[in-house]
Amino acid sequence: MAQLQVTDLHVDFGGLRAVDGLSFNVNEGEILCLLGPNGAGKSTTLDLICGKTQPTSGSIRFEGTDISQLLEFRRARLGIGRKFQVPSVYKELTVAENLSVARSRSPGIWHALTRFSLSDGRVAAPILERVGLEARASEIAGNLSHGETQWLEIAMLIAQDSRLILMDEPTAGMTIQETARTAEIFRSLSTSHTLIVVEHDMSFVRTVADRIVVMNRGAMLAEGTIEEIETNDDVKTAYLGH
């Protein structure tokens, strides 16, 4: 059975159908890339899965549980993590503190009350090393460059260790080298995590994607491997407008 099952999902924003009858499945350990022109509903789809937006109708099942009516923090506890399009790290906290917040295996108050704020240091160090921020651990996150902020948020998702990670344009603003490194990290993540990635950088998609879903006007246009998508006539029409 697929880890995530999205069935006939609809959402209306005051008359605008942002997502219109979308259905797809994601299997465990898979990297699924969501493609589509601007306004196709890719980010909204991620919002619906993580609980930022409530669907008008349709169902989202994660590991067999219907999560479409759950509050976002309950979905996070079930094992769904999210990286936003605009990097959203805590700018007033240090890099290490950001990771400590993200490390939320026990999000309860009692656990938090009986731990010091940086009690997860042993977990944090190797993760920071992995994204190359080990020297910046005690830096205030607001002082990081744009690229470093992207890395920090990726590091936070690794620390959160969700089984399903939703990534919204993770390589935006990265250099070619940084993008390549991100691809490497994503590949190594997929051994123990499932990833849904919204991305425009086709070379990145080509490197990481196991499968691709192309969206247009809130619905699925095509689905398949990169070769199948690149030769699909509907996709060409949607992108080029013929």
């Binding site: 999210r82 959203s88 939320s104 999000p107 938090a112």
Partner: protein, 370 residues
């Protein structure tokens, strides 16, 4: 950070020495002077309580005076019963209350009183917090709702004259006896009782801010939504810090009644509640120690200046608040931090300038080192 913990513990140690040794010495161990200072210390506790909810979690509670008042009335009820002996408290007679109201009966017990002074404010604060934060109310609306509660609560207290003593409050109180020790509020030992309570409250506050709980609160303050996506139940965190803050305010209220030997509905007035905000802002809401010091400094000034400028003092307090908000939004604590950083940078620059000429003859070598 560990350096931050070290810095806070160092500040606590210095503060403790000043309060425990410095102040009594300066006042010549004079009981009357120290009683006045004990009042400032009690107010320091309510200010640091606000720093926990406002500074750590970003929840501006304008109703802090209500929970402070609950503590102060709890203590006053106990002491009033003690002063009245077996008879009905005098004001109840004037209000034609035939017998002791049910709500007063358990206050015969000191243990119950101390618990009630902490738990009743915590319960009420928690109830309001639950309604607000489950509905994800944030920002200025928290301030408005808590302020509205304060106004309503004070009205009820004044209205229920037969139970609360109305506008007059509770006066003619007996001295507290604590484990066989009759507390004389004009004795040095009483000053040390209040000082000890303040130190304990600061320790609680420091523990909370340095725990992961405090870290999550800061994360919530900065971006509550993001924190939810990490699986934290933001409403619960906010409710718990509101409860703790209310309990500390109740604690301060109990001490305040002991110092002044009466409880009055003015403790629950809007102006008193806003004054707490000002103390906290002047000291610096990011630090519980700074918030307590803010309360002490402003009240010390008030003690000295309000005799000279009877009418003008409130205006001056308002001006101080506006100036602080405009020019040092992080209070004296932030100002000192900025000055410290500026001094450090200055000395770094100076060292760099001094070092430059020495480096110049061998630029190649310094390049190789890299």
């Amino acid at each position: 950070m560990t350096t931050k913990l070290f810095y806070d513990l160092f500040a606590l140690a210095v503060f403790a020495v000043v309060i425990v040794v410095g102040v009594p010495f300066l006042m010549g161990f004079d009981g009357f002077e120290l009683n006045t200072f004990a009042r400032y210390l009690a107010l320091g506790i309510v200010s640091l309580a606000l720093a926990l909810s406002w500074g750590s979690a970003g929840l501006l509670n304008l109703g802090q005076a209500a929970t402070f008042g609950m503590g102060s009335y709890a203590m006053a009820m106990h002491l009033k019963l003690k002063a009245s002996g077996d008879a009905l408290p005098d004001f109840m007679g004037w209000n034609n209350v035939p017998e002791l109201p049910l709500i007063w009966i358990p206050f015969h017990s000191l243990g119950f009183t101390l618990l009630a002074g902490l738990l009743v404010p915590a319960f009420v604060g928690g109830l309001i917090a639950m309604f607000m934060f489950r509905a994800r109310i944030a920002g200025v609306f928290v301030a408005i709702i808590t302020l509205a509660f304060l106004v309503a609560f004070q009205l009820v207290v004044i209205e229920q004259q037969g139970i609360t003593g109305g506008q007059n409050g509770l006066t003619g109180l007996a001295p507290l006896s604590l484990l066989g020790w009759s507390v004389d509020t004009y004795d040095v030992s009483f000053y040390y009782l209040v000082a000890g309570c303040l130190m304990a409250a600061i320790t609680v506050g420091l523990y909370l801010t340095h725990s992961k709980f405090g870290l999550i609160l800061r994360a919530i303050r900065e971006d509550a939504d993001r924190t939810r996506f990490f699986g934290y139940n933001v409403a619960n965190y906010q409710t718990v810090i509101f409860c703790i803050s209310a309990a500390l305010a109740g604690w301060a209220g109990m001490l305040y009644t002991l110092v002044l030997e009466f409880a009055s509905p003015t403790y629950m007035s809007v102006s008193f509640s806003l004054a707490i905000v000002i103390w906290c802002a002047v000291g610096g809401r990011d630090s519980v120690i700074a918030a307590a010091i803010g309360a002490i400094i402003v009240n010390l000034l008030e003690g000295r200046l309000s005799d000279v400028f009877v009418e003008g003092w409130n205006l001056m307090l308002g001006v101080i608040f506006v100036l602080v908000v405009m020019f040092i939004p992080r209070g004296l604590h932030g100002l000192i931090g900025d000055l410290w950083k500026a001094l450090n940078n200055q000395s770094h620059k100076q060292r760099a300038n001094e070092a430059e000429p020495k480096l110049q003859p061998q630029p190649v070598k310094s390049g190789q080192e890299k």
